[in-house]
Symmetry: C2
Subunit: 80 residues, 2 copies
DNA sequence: TACACTATGTATAACCT
DNA sequence: TAGGTTATACATAGTGT
């Protein structure tokens, strides 16, 4: 999406990488929000930037509730 | 995105909701993957469908590692 | 350094099979 | 019901300020 087709590999230029991170993180959170509302599902999204800053999204329920729901699954139902 | 502008609210028709869920879940996971690679960041994504089925994504690290990183944050750094 | 713009690539709603 | 197609809306890479 954008002026040019982008290869999916690490962006080496630090400034470009940070700008892309900021834009795409916002886009990802928006998409997660839309999925949770449109389809009425629980979504939890955790992002750590390379500087260690945390970004979170969760739908109606809190992050903690959704993580607990995951953690409490029997191990054989956690695989992807 | 699509033939018509979509309101962001729960899709009432069950079939449509499931179709949209399947398509958008795939799109969301793809975007999460791209963010993790392009920007070299940790992303964890947990989705429970309305029937309780689990979808997961995480980048290089395992979901468990990323969740642990979140859970181990001091409480005052967990806010969104 | 951070926003705003816009040309272009991408995701997807409705349709089709 | 699931998978493929396509017209259209949306996200965003590069750019400008």
């Amino acid at each position: 999406m954008g002026r040019v087709k982008l290869q999916i590999k690490r962006i080496e230029n630090t400034t470009n990488r940070q700008v892309t991170f900021s834009k795409r993180r916002n886009g990802l959170i928006k998409k997660a929000y839309e999925l949770s509302v449109l389809c009425d599902v629980d979504v939890a999204l955790i992002i750590f930037s390379s500087s260690g800053r945390l970004s979170l999204f969760s739908g109606n329920k809190s992050i903690e509730e959704i993580l607990a729901r995951y953690i409490n699954l029997p191990a054989n139902r956690r695989g992807r």
